[in-house]
């Protein structure tokens, strides 16, 4: 057994660490007790029980996958997501005991990503980082070379909402936050290393290429053609930005609304949470949700609204944005279904007044979001977003 792998097993949770966490969970207690026993006594025991323990751990992963997919994700008890993450860790270790071949490591890294996406790993971040590091080593990847994007020349065009040049916190609070006024904030994220670094897509490939993320396929999430898939960032980047010229029947893929920065801490160092997000009616303010939006030209988020304050920061590329006030909700034809009730049926870029006559009454606001700009949107403001070029935006949501 590799010594490096043995060192990793020392980071695995011990029975005494998790016993209290999973108190009333009969299945998890029985299975994780066996698994921790096995891992704590690796040298001293034979393999007679290994097969059964490994099977039980896999069953615990499957079982909690089902529990996580029952009911609304927001209602899933934290304990279920913790057990899922724990079971995934042990499944990975059992798989690595069988083999540490590159293919097996690749498989394990996929499991780790799923644990990250569905589970709750907050209690074991050190193990997560060490395991990710270990699994990323020795792969035969990065054979693709991606372009370094050219900076866009700034376009001056009409903007239907107020613009402020790097406002102070007080100014932001009175003119934007309290006034409920969508505003374009200029030159407020110039210090982000991301603005330069991420233009080189090979940097993103190197830091994040091996992670699996949810990708939206199809240009618009409200259309019937739309679907979602888990994909390695490497594959996504090379398909959407690689030198492949034959792009005629290529579908648009969009890494949208994903908490990329908790998954890949290295990328988080390239950005910082703007101070504006600390302004809140709550005291102390709730945590800020940071989401990544990366895709080629032509990705569309149809007219929709979100419940929280939103600061959308443009790292590279440009986005055409159309806004409408919450007071116009009744004139915007929201979808009936529960999933899409925050989404309008209209195509904001091509208004069809025959089918949707009430749109005549709506006041729309248009703007172009360019690199280094931030758009502040108060809660429930409707927005349509279309990328005009390969684009990376970071959004901050807070209450």
């Amino acid at each position: 057994m590799e010594s490096e792998f043995l060192l990793l097993t020392k980071l695995l949770p011990r029975w005494k660490d998790i016993e209290n966490v999973i108190q009333d969970e009969v299945e998890a207690r029985y299975i994780l007790k066996r698994a921790t026993d096995h891992m704590e006594n690796l040298q001293s025991r034979g393999d007679s029980q290994a097969e059964e323990s490994r099977y039980l751990v896999c069953a615990l992963v499957d079982r909690n996958w089902e529990r996580i997919h029952t009911g609304h994700f927001s209602q899933v008890p934290l304990i279920t997501r913790k057990i899922y993450a724990l079971a995934c860790y042990f499944k990975i270790f059992f798989l690595l005991l069988e083999s540490t071949s590159p293919a097996q490591k690749e498989l394990c890294s996929g499991i780790l990503d799923e644990a990250q996406l569905l589970g709750c790993m907050d209690d074991w971040t050190e193990l997560k980082a060490a395991l990710m590091d270990y699994l990323d080593k020795g792969g035969d990847r990065d054979s693709v070379t991606l372009p370094i994007l050219e900076p866009l020349t700034r376009i001056s065009c009409t903007c239907d909402i107020p613009q402020l040049e790097a406002p102070s916190l007080e100014e932001f609070q009175t003119k934007c936050f309290q006034a409920g006024q969508p505003t374009l904030l200029l030159n407020t994220i110039q210090h982000w290393p991301a603005l330069d670094k991420w233009m080189n897509l090979n940097y993103l490939l190197q830091v994040a290429g091996n992670r699996t993320v949810p990708i939206e396929i199809g240009s618009n999430y409200a259309s019937d053609e739309w679907s979602q898939q888990l994909v390695k960032i490497r594959d996504f980047l090379s398909r959407q930005f690689g030198g492949d010229t034959n792009k005629t029947n290529q579908e648009i893929e969009y890494l949208a609304q994903h908490e990329l920065f908790s998954q890949i801490p290295a990328l988080k160092k390239d950005i910082s949470i703007p101070d504006y997000c600390s302004i809140s009616k709550e005291n102390p303010p709730e945590a800020v949700d940071i989401k990544a939006w990366l895709g080629p030209a032509g990705t569309i988020s149809p007219m929709h609204y979100d419940p929280k304050h939103n600061l959308l920061c443009q790292v590279f590329g440009a986005k055409r944005i159309i806004l409408a006030a919450p007071s116009d909700t009744d004139n915007l034809y929201p979808h009936e279904s529960e999933f899409l009730s925050n989404t309008s049926q209209i195509d904001a870029a091509h208004l069809d007044l025959d089918s949707y006559p009430l749109l005549e009454k709506v006041k729309f606001y248009e703007l172009l979001l360019q690199p280094g700009d931030c758009l502040y949107m108060p809660p429930k403001w409707w927005h349509y977003v279309r990328s005009e070029a390969p684009s990376f935006s970071v959004s901050f949501w807070w209450e």
Partner: protein, 378 residues
């Protein structure tokens, strides 16, 4: 009554008679605590199985600390039906009284008190002296449960989300034929052949065009006008068979449980994972009786007859007695011969099984399948 089992049994929920696999499809015979000729009632939960005969009830599996734990209880009367859920098992007596029991070593049968349904048509009953009579507790005829749903239907067609009354079917002649639950939705079939669904439909479980939660039973418009004879509810999917011998499936298809193709990672063909409306399944020709009576072979001989569903798998019997299946098979729920695959996304015959369609029965646990063979066929 031989019981043939296949699927997840890591907690000793079912006591295998031998370690040998019994038939070609990879089912094994399990032991029932009652003698062979007797018909017993069985329900399979995730970590335990419940089995009843007469007034006796057995719970077996992982109850408190480890596998193969077993408790025996005695009910106040003969047991008619069981519904094994995660946190409790519903126990219905022939008398129509409902009990529940937690799957643990110190298990106890506890009375379930149901809220009285509003009595709009009959008025308040009064005793001889004019005092209003306390409403008698409803007589329950059907039960079903999933991890997020518990349903009972009374003799007067009151539908309970235990313990509260959700709905009352007003029509006198309304008779419930089948009631089934998935993890979080319910499907009800009446003798007229109408299908009603309610509960969480965010994964297409309810067969309605709009994905949403329905608090009360809704008629499935998409099947209106088609007489349905059999239904099944899986974890997040549902299935129905019509009097014409057509099979419909709808809901989540993450593991091929609808018999619809699953999108392969990195594949070029896009397939939806959720089918909100019933999909008519064009089953492959059974082909079983071709050799036997090639001249008089009739397609109807192999028409789908009954359908059954586990968390992510679906089984159907055809008139010829063959068993067909689709869906998740990682834990052997479709027989150990398929265990090396993780799922099947098209219906396929399970070799070596021929059921007596009059007397044999099929039961699905979340990750398992049980055949109860009363006839001679095997």
């Amino acid at each position: 009554m031989p019981l043939l089992f296949t699927g997840f049994n890591a907690f000793g929920q079912h006591e295998c008679i031998s370690r040998d696999v019994d038939c070609a499809a990879g089912f094994s015979e399990i032991n029932a605590p009652v003698s062979t000729q007797n018909q017993c009632t069985i329900s399979i939960g995730f970590r335990y199985a419940a089995l009843a005969f007469g007034r006796k009830l057995w719970l077996r599996g992982l109850l408190d600390d480890g596998p193969n734990e077993c408790v025996t209880l005695k009910a106040a009367g003969d047991i008619k039906a069981l519904a094994a859920g995660d946190s409790h098992c519903l126990v219905l007596l022939e008398s129509g009284q409902l009990y529940r029991v937690q799957p643990k070593l110190q298990a106890e049968l506890l009375v379930v008190r149901l809220e009285a349904p509003p009595r709009s048509n009959s008025g308040t009953k009064r005793s001889f002296f004019g005092a209003p009579k306390a409403p008698s507790s409803p007589i329950i005829e059907h039960i079903a449960c999933g991890s997020h749903i518990n349903v009972a239907v009374s003799s007067e067609n009151a539908v309970f989300s235990i313990p509260s009354c959700l709905h009352q079917f007003a029509e006198r002649q309304f008779r419930v034929k089948q009631l089934q639950c998935g993890h979080e939705h319910a499907v009800l079939l009446n003798v007229n052949g109408d299908v009603f669904t309610w509960g969480n439909g965010l994964r297409g479980q309810l067969g309605q065009p709009v994905l949403k939660v329905e608090e009360t039973p809704q008629l499935m418009e998409a099947l209106a006008g088609i007489k349905i004879t059999q239904i099944a509810a899986g974890g997040w999917h549902s299935a129905a068979i019509s009097a014409f011998g057509d099979l419909y499936t709808w809901g989540l298809n993450c593991s091929g449980q609808l018999g619809m193709r699953v999108m392969k990672p990195g594949g070029f063909l896009k397939e939806p994972t959720v089918y909100p409306l019933p999909q008519l399944q064009d089953l492959p020709e059974c082909g079983c009786s071709k050799e036997a009576k090639s001249n008089e072979h009739d397609d109807d001989d192999c028409a789908p007859l009954r359908v059954f569903a586990g968390s992510r798998h679906t089984l159907l019997t055809r008139r010829c007695g063959r068993l067909w299946a689709s869906g998740w098979c990682q834990h052997g729920q479709l027989g150990t011969q398929l265990q090396n695959r993780s799922y099947m996304d098209a219906f396929q015959a399970l070799d070596g099984i021929r059921l007596n369609t009059c007397s044999d029965d099929v039961l699905c646990g979340p990750w398992s399948t049980l055949l109860s063979l009363k006839g001679s066929g095997n």
